[in-house]
Amino acid sequence: MNEIIAVVTGYEITSGVTVLEVAIFAIIIIASLIVARVLTQKVRHSLPDRIPKNDREVISKALYFVVAGIGVIIALPYINVNLSGLFVAGGVFAIIIGIAGQNVFSNFIAGLILFVERPIKIGDNIGIEDVLGTVEDIRILSTIIKTYDGIYTRIPNFTIFTANITNYVAHVARRFEYSVGIRYQDDADLAMSVIRSVVEEHPFALKNPAPKIYVDELGDNAVLLSVRIWAPSMVWWDVRTELLWKIKVALEESGIEIPFPQRTVWFPEGKTTIQTTKGDGTGTEMTRP
């Protein structure tokens, strides 16, 4: 029996390739395909949902072909296929691919780093260089931004990796500021009280950190009040747009006006004097006969 097996397995199908070697070749190929399939399924299920489905498929398929390719390389010598020629050809091919695909590779690596570092997430409001908008998708090679006017913008991941990123919603709360001018004759304390009431009434103007309202500058035409408000990052823009008009209306209802730039012209008897008075009382005087 053993002799029969030895004869069968030792039978040369072609010159120097026995049945046993062909069987080993086939077993390695089949095993590598099974391992590739199992690994692919594992990786596909373990990749986080934030990676788009297309990218998950690309990664899974790349892994499948890499594992299957390794299996083929291990198996080929059993059927007397000389790999040295393949390696030479593969080396030349790799150089060509490397030169042609260095941008792709750098974007790919940058994409992986972005996945790990996570400076931005899908849905974040961000600014990258001169592009402002909402992150729509983070892919393996590029990131998709929808600008605030609805324009589709694709930015290579390497650009994002090397650029200054401003993430407007990375923190749970953020501050914004108004500068409100009132006339010099208006009561600044009353104005600040009115503004504070309006701010405190707004649900999303945070109680803590407390809003800060103070006289910031004695300007040319107005006393400038600074109003600093913290709001949840998710709704800060809504708060900012809603409050400003409410502040203006409330100030006017209290008899406090937001002044325009003004100039007083004064004509004394016998000569013409043009006196320019600024809101803070300072000014210039020009006299003509």
Binding site: A173, F204, K207, N208, P232, V235
Partner: protein
């Protein structure tokens, strides 16, 4: 007002009216709360309307799951318990129950809303903010405006701790209601001068109260993994 209704029906209290009317087989839901009105239409007449107090973190829109109840300073002795009653804001949820499914169709409130930040802007929590007096007995409250929270502060440490508020996770809330009031029962386990854990107990403050529907179960939010909320940013306001 809290309860369960077969429609058509009409109920009215304070500045709130809720009704479902029928015209030619079409059911119209209408609510008016302090002049704020909502109208929608119900497909069939086989369901029920449930009006329950719900977790008070939904208005004017849902941005956080946390509620902070700020109190005057409470100094709690070492190795002691301090039991008190606080108030919490009421939000009223209207649910449609039909053929075994429940869907929230409206949320409104008489209580004004205010939000705050617990912790730092970097990694703190945005919280619904409510100020409460401390009561030793169950306070009389306007049922549609405020509910009653029974809070037991447990200080097992060796230090006197100062508490000026408690932060709760709405996913853990267990709200009960009766004809008189809505209620919750909670505990705060003080871990140190700078931290505590809060949790809710699934019991009403008095017998005979009914369970409210929990919004997070109606909305199929299943990632509630912790039974406590960790107050990692301290027990006092900054």
């Amino acid at each position: 007002m809290f309860g369960e209704y077969r429609y058509p029906f009409h109920c009215e209290a304070d500045n709130i009216t809720v009704d479902v009317t029928e015209t030619d087989g079409l059911y119209r839901y209408h609510r008016n709360c302090n002049g704020s009105e909502v109208t929608s239409y119900l497909h069939s007449g086989s369901g029920r309307i449930l009006i329950h107090p719900v977790e008070p973190v939904n208005l004017p829109k849902y941005i956080t799951q946390y509620l902070k109840i700020a109190t005057p300073a409470i100094y709690v002795d070492p190795e002691s318990r301090y039991a008190c009653y606080l108030t919490f804001p009421i939000e009223i949820g209207v649910f449609l129950e039909s053929k075994g499914d429940v869907e929230i169709i409206d949320i409104f409130s008489l209580h004004p809303q205010k939000y705050s930040l617990y912790g730092t802007p970097t990694d703190g929590k945005v919280v619904r903010y409510h100020e409460s007096t401390i009561y030793r007995e169950i306070p009389d409250v306007d049922q549609l405006y405020e509910g009653v929270l029974s809070l037991t502060i447990i200080n097992e440490g060796k230090d006197i701790v100062t508490v000026t508020g408690a932060v709760f996770d709405s996913y853990l809330m267990k709200i009960f209601y009766s004809d008189l009031r809505a209620s919750m029962v909670a505990r705060m386990h003080v871990l140190s001068k700078g931290g505590a854990e809060t949790e809710f107990i699934d019991v009403p403050i008095v017998g005979g109260m009914k369970n409210s529907r929990e919004l997070y179960t109606v909305r199929n939010i299943k990632h509630v993994v912790s039974r406590v909320f960790s107050m990692d940013w301290g027990l006092e306001d900054e």
